[in-house]
Amino acid sequence: MRLQLPNPGLEDRILSHEDLDKLETEEAGSGDRPKWDNKTQYMLTCVGFCVGLGNVWRFPYLCQSHGGGAFMIPFLILLVLEGVPLLHLEFAIGQRLRKGSLGVWSTIHPYLAGVGIASMFVSLMISLYYNTIMAWVMWYLFNSFQETLPWSQCPLNYNLTGLVSECEQSSPVDYFWYRETLNTTPDIGENGGLQWWMVLCLISAWAVLYICIIRGIETTGKAVYVTSTLPYVVLSIFLIRGLTLKGSLSGVVFLFTPDLTELTNPTTWLDAGAQVFYSFSIAFGGLISFSSYNSVHNNCEQDAVIISAVNGFTSVYAATVIYTIIGFRATERFDNCLGGNILTLLNTFDLPEGNVTENNYDQVLQSLNGTHPDIIQGLNLKTCDLNTFLSEGVEGTGLAFIVFTEAITKMPVSPVWSVLFFIMLFCLGLSSMFGNIEGVLVPLQDLGVFPKSWPKEATTGTTCVLCCIAGLIFVQGSGNYWLSLFDSFAGSIPLLIIAFCEMVGVVYLYGIDRFNEDIKFMIGHKPNLFWQITWRFVSPAIMFVIFVFYFITKVTETLLYKTWNPESENFPTLEEKPYPAWIYVIIFILAGIPSLAVPGTALYKCLRRKRDTKAEQQELKTVSNHIDVNDKAQDGKSHT
């Protein structure tokens, strides 16, 4: 007898298998519920949702910093044990119950509605800041249509005597990112006002999103043909371009060189688990919605395996491409460093050109150090090490907007590569936004926030406009700091809690037996032992462990954030500052409210149900006590 928590009334809330089959045949033409035009659209949408910016700028960094090729081992293990089961679960439950996330969890048990609400809240927070990243990508894209890219050289200062000092001290790419794009303030407290060019880009990002989701999956399904396939095309073009550049192979070798000692470090496993989890976009509610538009007998098991494989492959592929370009950039920097040193030596000692080359640099330096040690000391030659340049591993926005853009300026025909790269980033992000927004729109519809008479275009439009206005926080001077704040707290802990509740809810409240029967009805065979073990024990355990470690790490560490402060002492390096006290309130709102929505809604529903049953009981007492429905009394009356 399997562990099953009591769940009365479940049968009444769900459609039986016969009803589902009837719905399938009746709904063939039109229906209330939207439908995918064909399987390809569904697969492309799910792939697009899962494959996002994290595959391009988080996975390569993790791979390189946790022992290269060795990182593949925990990544693949956790992909199989954590990613695939969770994905299959979400697909199956969505397809079976045929509702969005809020509907699914309310159906399984009314007290679980909090899980749906938490999903909606998390999706909303993430949509807000994710589209700001899209706005940044669009800004760079718009600026790429110039012959000399604006981030390739420093602008001249006011009286045209030299370069702007902030740019001279750091680098043109840094200056363009921090000053001309973000116009960042040195502190999160100073908001710096709205940056008008960023507001325009934000509006354009939301406008493009709106036109793609204007009629729900009817338009999204057509948009994904482009947004989900174009990134792969561009990645392949960059791979070919990258491999023909000098030094690219040293980058790839550096990325994949395994360091097996990293496997003993628990942080590696934690980071791998977290990466798998966030990369699959689980617990957003979007995947449940998407699979609910499928036909009942769609093979969700196969879909889950295929999409997981595609996601894993894309991560590795993107990492390879990124590191060919990073290898090229590191080699370029190394060559410049060495070239600078050689030139200094030639100039100081008046040696003919070609006397000192890269090959004999060390010998010549040593011999010169023997003969003229004081002069050599005075020169302050920099030490040039290729590995140092390669391990200047950057992730996130730093990778895309600083490191990669610098590498692009060194390639011939830079504007073309820049346009391609930013179109790829835009498509990756846009396809993820489809899922995020779905996770917001469908619960809003289920909650009845919008009047039923409103057409789909109006609901999506209103949501986009309101989100755009709320997103204005991120385009002020301090917007970058707000964005990292949201990234660290809105999207981490609550998702882990939601995913854990999802698994427990389906396996122990809905009932694993009933779930197995459902899957047998939908795809023809019962899920095998692997699924049983992972759903019931392994995946929830992994979720729990990751959650506990994450929670402890976040709570115990002092929260610092990195700022760009031209007045700080070691200027080009970002200055680390502690958050001001009022930020902790914001953090609590971001992470606490969705997490507390789960037990909070359960409590609220429980109390309301108790109040309703009490009221019903009181009413019954009144009715039966005061009105006589006895026949005898009436007979008596009619005689008189």
Partner: protein, 220 residues
């Protein structure tokens, strides 16, 4: 005889005099550093006396252009202290008085004015033909009237808004067409607005189904 001795002395002494005028680190001297291999790679030419002659001619040209006279000549440019790096010092003497040196500031201005021509004579650039102390001229910034990104933004946002309006209009038309279709169906099945004519007056009446002998109803 005396004239011959004087001429001999002058010919012997002139180079010596020239040498004393050109000294490394002289206040009015300029140092030049040339990196031919860096600039031209495989097509690098050798730096020899002929190239030196070209340099002197080019410098004389630069001085002529700056002062707008035709008095400067190759002899007015004196070079010394040449190294293997290919670097050397040079000074410019005045054409009127061969012992007087042109001040460094004027030489610098002359070089700045004709920098482009000097570079091109040697197929070099500001970085590979360095006049130490004279900074390379900064490229004047090209400021277009409208920033190019604004143009691209305008195009994109125009296309997107046109698309949104097209989609909204098409869905509105679709809805209206559906409503019209339903209305026509409705009139078919439910009340039919009949126009009766009585005494040349148009009356609007509703056809009362209850009084028809209609085959549509099922027979008992």
């Amino acid at each position: 005889m005396l004239v011959r001795i004087l001429v001999l002395l002058y010919l012997a002494g002139a180079p010596a005099l020239a040498q004393t005028l050109c000294q490394p680190n002289a206040s009015n001297g300029c140092r030049v550093r040339i990196s031919i291999k860096t600039a031209l790679g495989n097509q690098a030419y050798e730096w020899n006396e002929n190239e030196m002659f070209l340099f002197r001619a080019t410098m004389a040209f630069a001085m002529r252009r700056y002062y707008k006279t035709e008095t400067y000549n190759v002899d007015n440019i004196i070079m010394c202290n040449q190294t293997l790096r290919v670097s050397f010092w040079f000074v410019v003497t005045s054409p009127e008085n061969s012992t007087m040196l042109i001040p460094k500031a004027d030489v610098e201005k002359a070089v700045r004015m004709s920098r482009h021509r000097i570079n091109n004579a040697f197929l070099l650039t500001d970085r590979t033909l360095e006049f130490l102390g004279i900074h390379p001229t900064l490229a004047a910034p090209v400021n277009p009237d409208t920033p190019p990104w604004l143009i691209v933004f305008g195009v994109v946002i125009g296309a997107v808004f046109a698309g949104i309006i097209a989609l909204l209009v098409s869905s509105l038309l679709q809805k209206r067409r559906k409503e019209k279709g339903m209305m026509e169906d409705g009139q078919d099945e439910e009340d039919r607005q009949m126009k009766g004519v009585e005494n040349d007056n148009v009356l609007d009446g509703i056809y009362n189904r209850g009084f028809t002998d209609d085959d549509r109803f099922t027979k008992l």
